[in-house]
């Protein structure tokens, strides 16, 4: 689990166990991820956090990730069947889409609701049906209820609509002719209703609605302060075009970006498929470009933030694939382009397979960011091994001490432990406990507490739980210590199972 996933899991625990969610405008985004997790938890009859596992949590982003593919269906009348199929293909084989569809964070939900707004908005403009404007309203409300950065996506959508609207006016088409002021009211009212419902925790916490707007101030203030996640302007482009850590494979989204580039060009050309609406393609192109520009300018960057404009590139890739296959007149050229596209597609599939399998927590993976490494599992096994051998089991007292409370995602893995304390620094007033996990920076303070503050004769000896260098994530070492008397019991049990030696009772003596 990633730190963010584990934090969200604990926020969900509050809702699951106490039926309570309180939106925090300073951090952690909107409530939709938490509320939607109730559904798989209820279906799996999970009542407390210790019942919940990674499957329950990750079913939510998986559902919305798959939903992104299904959302293409209503656009058959806008993109054409071919583009819908190829876009579905590129969505499914896209490495970041697959990767973050298994991450218990808000990103895939946000992209889903953003795309749902585009789909519903387009269908409304084409048909005038109230159901579509309501769908658009709910999608917009859910966008706001998911991430505060919805304003960026809305701004990009509005700006991308302008050239389309100008062209409509120039060509005097019938699209959108049924748009009335009341539709604006329906849209804004519906969006506000859905957003308010979630932020007020379904009317139990009305202050959450105000907090949802207060959040914009927080994020605005933060944007002017440097952050540990500030990256250069080309960060997203490097992630997409060429990502290489020495000693690791090279990763690139070029197999998808090539057809996306062709899709960009074809947005201004002709399509042989009469079902393809070029204005929709141009809208997607403008929206993608504007959103990419916005996120490029903002110094704060994390890899999952690019999913919004990346999804636009995926749609363009679908467009470009069809354009390449259908746009060439000669049969031989079409065969060559089909083979070329198959090579690109299979490269993308292989890359996605590796990035989501063998390299899913490797620091060389471009989509891995502050991810817990495999040595974390060693920490968990060591502590659980101790718990399994003592009478207290998961009630054995444990302390975890890491500066700035950066011990996540350990709280998730130790959720079954009933007497575990989490500290940002050594608490010299707390009595020493049998098992201590500590960051090296706090070790001198821990030694002071254990060996100099305690009176002589009351100082327990602590031995390492493991000898190897062990990390929570790259660059964050964690050390484990256990009171000597506990490990002796374990060693004795292990010895007993391997050797035939006299036990404590009775000790047999030779005659």
């Amino acid at each position: 689990m990633h730190t963010d996933e584990a934090v969200h899991a604990f926020q969900f625990a509050d809702l699951l166990e106490k039926g309570r969610f309180r939106y925090d405008p300073a951090e952690y985004h909107g409530p939709t991820l938490i509320y939607f997790t109730l559904l798989p938890a209820r279906l799996r009859a999970e009542k407390v956090l210790s019942d919940v596992d990674e499957k329950t949590l990750r079913l939510v982003p998986v559902f919305f990730g798959l939903g992104l593919i299904l959302l293409l269906l209503p656009l058959v009348r806008g993109l054409g069947r071919g583009v819908v199929l190829t876009s579905a293909f590129w969505t499914a084989v896209s490495a970041p889409m697959a990767f973050y569809s298994r991450y218990y964070i808000h990103e895939v939900l946000f992209v889903f609701f953003s795309f749902a707004l585009i789909v519903c908005g387009y269908r409304f403009l084409r048909s005038g049906k109230t159901s579509w404007i309501l769908g658009a309203a709910f999608s917009a409300g859910l966008m706001h209820a998911t991430k505060e950065s919805c304003v960026l996506a809305w701004g990009a959508m509005a700006a991308a609509l302008l050239p389309v609207w100008v062209e409509r006016g120039r060509k005097r088409t019938d699209d959108g002719k049924w748009f009335r002021p009341r539709h604006t009211t329906v849209f804004l009212g519906g969006a506000a209703f859905v957003s308010a419902l979630f932020y007020s925790s379904f009317l139990t916490h009305p202050e959450g609605i105000v907090d949802s707007f207060r959040a914009f101030l927080h994020y605005f203030n933060r944007s002017s302060v440097s952050s540990i996640h500030d990256h250069p302007w080309d960060y997203y482009f490097r992630l997409l075009l060429f990502w290489h850590v020495p000693g690791k494979p090279v990763w690139s989204e070029i197999p998808m970006l090539i057809p996306a580039g062709i899709g960009l060009l074809s947005a201004f050309g002709k399509f042989s498929d009469p079902g393809t609406d070029r204005r929709l393609i141009r809208f997607v192109l403008c929206y993608t470009a504007l959103l990419a520009a916005i996120y490029t300018v903002i110094p704060y960057k994390t890899p999952w933030n690019l999913l919004g404009f990346y999804h636009g590139l995926v749609l363009l890739a679908g467009t470009g694939t069809v354009a390449l296959l259908q746009g060439l007149k000669r049969k031989r050229a079409r065969i060559v382009s089909a083979i070329f596209l198959m090579v690109l597609g299979s490269t993308a599939i292989r890359q996605t397979w590796l990035l989501n399998g063998r390299y899913d927590s490797d620091p060389g993976n471009p989509w891995v960011y502050a991810q817990a490494g495999e040595s974390l599992l060693h920490v968990i096994r060591a502590v659980e091994d101790v718990a399994s051998k003592v009478p207290e089991q998961f009630g054995i007292p444990v302390e975890v001490i890491v500066p700035r409370h950066e011990y996540w995602p350990l709280p998730w893995y130790f959720r079954r432990f009933t007497r575990i304390g989490w500290y940002g620094r050594v608490d010299s007033t707390a009595a020493p406990v049998p098992v201590i996990l500590v960051a090296p920076q706090e070790e001198p303070s821990l030694v002071l507490k254990l060996y100099e503050r305690m009176p002589p004769g009351s100082r327990y000896l602590y031995v390492p739980l493991w000898n190897e260098y062990t990390e929570l994530r790259p660059g964050c070492e964690i050390r484990g210590y256990i009171r000597n008397e506990y490990i002796r019991k374990e060693t004795w049990d292990a010895v007993q199972s391997e050797k035939e030696v006299p036990t404590n009772a009775p000790v047999t003596r030779r005659p």
Binding site: Y460, L461, V463, V495
Partner: protein, 233 residues
């Protein structure tokens, strides 16, 4: 007489009042003390939420500690204060080796690295030559084969005769054969890692180790004894 008796009665009543008051005060003190001795139900702090941590992704980053960690956590400056210190024993003429081998730093179980003491209960004692705060004692009996030594008792004291101020830090003599008190520690199989004994930071100058034969024979052996501590300032 009456005045005297009244005065006596006054004094007596004052005395009684004083005793009562003192008793009441003492009782309050006792109650308060017993209240402070009651185990407190400590609420352990819950994990604090944080944002996405920093991504540290430096290529070819060398791990800072490539070797095994020390055998136990201890303050800086803790060292083997028994190294090369004088050793005495219950057997002044060991059959094999010399008592000085107990603190010579050689932990191998090969010939020439261990001292063999006579049968049944024997002891060795190390004079640390100053009072030290002791964190751990590590003892190696003969460990080339998996044997168990009986009635292993480790005591520390500031008295070279171990008659007063004696603290027992390890005792697996469960039936009090050694007449030093029954112990609750378990028997253990000798290994090359030695037996790590927690001395809980007790302060002492002398360390004495007892044993009473082993599963192979009645004899007693020591390869090495290390005492980890820091001199008391």
């Amino acid at each position: 007489m009456l005045i005297q008796s009244v005065q006596i009665k006054k004094h007596h009543s004052k005395f009684v009042l004083f005793i009562l008051f003192f008793g009441l005060f003492a009782a309050c003190g006792l109650i308060a003390q017993s209240e402070t001795l009651k185990p407190i139900d400590i609420k352990l702090p819950k994990p604090m939420f944080i944002g996405t941590p920093q991504n540290i992704n430096v290529p070819n980053l060398e791990k800072p500690l490539g070797k095994a960690r020390p055998p136990f956590l201890a303050p800086a400056g803790t060292r083997n204060v028994a190294f090369k210190k004088p050793v005495t024993g219950s057997d002044t003429a060991p059959v094999i080796g010399e008592l000085s081998m107990v603190t010579d730093g050689d932990k191998e179980a090969s010939d020439g690295s261990y001292v063999e003491l006579g049968p049944f209960q024997q002891w060795v004692a190390i004079d640390l030559q100053s009072v030290n705060t002791l964190y751990a004692v590590v003892v190696w009996h003969y460990h080339k084969q998996p044997v168990v030594y009986y009635d292993v008792i480790v005591q520390v004291s500031d008295d070279p005769k171990f008659q007063k101020n004696v603290t027992t830090v390890f005792n697996n003599d469960h039936d009090n054969t050694a007449k030093l008190g029954a112990g609750k520690d378990k028997n253990y199989v000798e290994t090359s890692e030695g037996r790590l004994i927690d001395t809980k930071g007790v302060q002492a100058r002398f360390v004495r180790l007892y044993s009473n034969g082993n599963t192979g024979n009645d004899l007693n052996h020591y390869v090495e004894v290390e005492v980890y501590g820091k001199p008391v300032q």
